[in-house]
């Protein structure tokens, strides 16, 4: 042991001999971010991984403890990144990287804007359904898509009616329409990226984290129903026929009265046949049906 390492050893021993220094050293060693600034002070200058550690320290202390343990064990930065991302994702907030973590809880907007021309290059499979509402893909370099006045009131009335039906098949089609016309009641389903960027992000406070997890879980559940409902409309002609007929009826009502009395709506969907057990067709069965159709 040379003089330098001996000196280091002496300092280390001295730090553990004095109770006050030992406590300070323990805090610095095992909670290096004990004095980190509050998230309200975040100005973008903090390294993403450090910000992620700050976030986990306040929102998910168990992940923070794991991360510090991993740092103490000499893990690489990429391993630490993976631990933090996977840990936060496992809590119910999907996270691929820390790029925006400092600005609040990153949320993924799942909604669409029917007037946005960009939508129609992504969701080409929606064309047959949108055609039932007289909505056509934009031609050339159109800056917006013309959505007739009656479409939103009729689409939302249909969505509201169907999502309250006991037949899960109808309910799933209702959620598909609720997504299409941004009226599900869930922000992530109803807002597209632009709309979501307009509202203040949720903070990493306990209450906001719990709320975000609830919203994300609900949106995931809804999107499963949206996909099942869309598949049903796309692949089963009798469903499309019934939807078209009901759209026509509601469109006439709206044109005649200028509004729709949603509470008094009674729509006929008998053309789809009955569901013997009254329950949903399980997604896996339905996907199998798609496979058969293909």
């Amino acid at each position: 042991m040379n003089a330098l390492t001996q000196l280091y050893e002496n300092v280390a021993v001295a730090l553990t001999d004095d109770p006050m220094l030992l406590l300070a050293t323990a805090v610095a060693t095992f909670d290096p971010l004990w004095n980190a600034s509050d998230e309200d002070d975040f100005d973008g200058d903090v390294e993403p991984v450090e910000r992620a550690l700050q976030v986990t320290r306040s929102a998910f202390p168990d992940i923070y403890a794991e991360a510090i343990g991993q740092m103490q064990a000499g893990s690489s930065e990429s391993e630490l990144d993976r631990l933090l991302c996977q840990g936060i994702s496992a809590k119910g907030i999907p996270l691929d990287d820390f790029d925006y973590i400092g600005w609040g809880i990153p949320l993924l907007a799942l909604g669409i804007d029917l007037e946005d021309p960009a939508l129609y290059s992504v969701y080409t499979d929606l064309f047959p359904i949108l055609a039932l509402f007289d909505i056509r893909p934009p031609a050339g370099n159109a800056s917006y898509v013309d959505v007739p006045n009656w479409v939103y009131p009729v689409g939302r009335a249909l969505a509201n009616y169907l999502t309250h039906q006991a037949d899960k098949r109808l309910e799933q089609v209702g959620w598909a329409l609720a997504w299409l016309f941004s009226c599900s009641g869930n922000t992530l389903i109803d807002f597209d990226d632009n709309a979501l960027a307009e509202i203040p992000p949720l903070t990493w406070s306990t209450d906001d984290v719990a709320f975000a997890i609830e919203v994300i879980e609900e949106a995931d559940d809804m999107m499963r129903d949206v996909q099942a409902g869309m598949e049903r409309l796309r692949t089963l002609p009798e469903w499309k026929t019934e939807l078209e007929r009901n759209i026509g009826y509601l469109k006439r009502e709206w044109t005649k009265k200028g509004k729709l009395d949603e509470h008094a709506l009674q729509l006929d969907w008998t053309g789809i046949g009955s569901c013997t057990d009254g329950n949903a067709i399980a997604d896996s069965q339905f996907l199998q049906l798609r496979g058969d159709a293909a």
């Binding site: 021993v13 406590l23 805090v27 095992f30 403890a65 794991e66 343990g69 103490q72």
Partner: protein, 86 residues
């Protein structure tokens, strides 16, 4: 626990009677002083336990400091401050 303190001596005695803090992290460091600033082979579970305990401790300290910083002023009615003529 409610303690009625009537004087400085009692406050001093009260603080002096508090047992020294012993945290898991302190125990780990005491057992392996070379751990300070270096990598040491300690089971991850022990480190996680130490971190969890110290985070809770620093949070308690922070809360106490915030409470002290916002204590309401206490009027000292009987003190004589001759410099100000009262």
């Amino acid at each position: 626990m409610t303690v009625n303190l009537t004087g400085l001596d009692e406050l001093r005695a009260c603080l002096a009677s508090i047992l020294p803090l012993e945290l898991k992290g302190m125990e780990l460091l005491r057992g392996q002083p070379h751990r300070i600033g270096a990598i040491a082979p300690v089971p991850r579970s022990q480190v996680v336990e130490a971190v969890t305990e110290i985070v809770a401790y620093t949070e308690r300290c922070g809360a106490a400091a915030r409470s002290l910083a916002t204590l309401a002023p206490i009027p000292v009615l009987t003190a004589l401050v001759m410099e100000f003529g009262v």
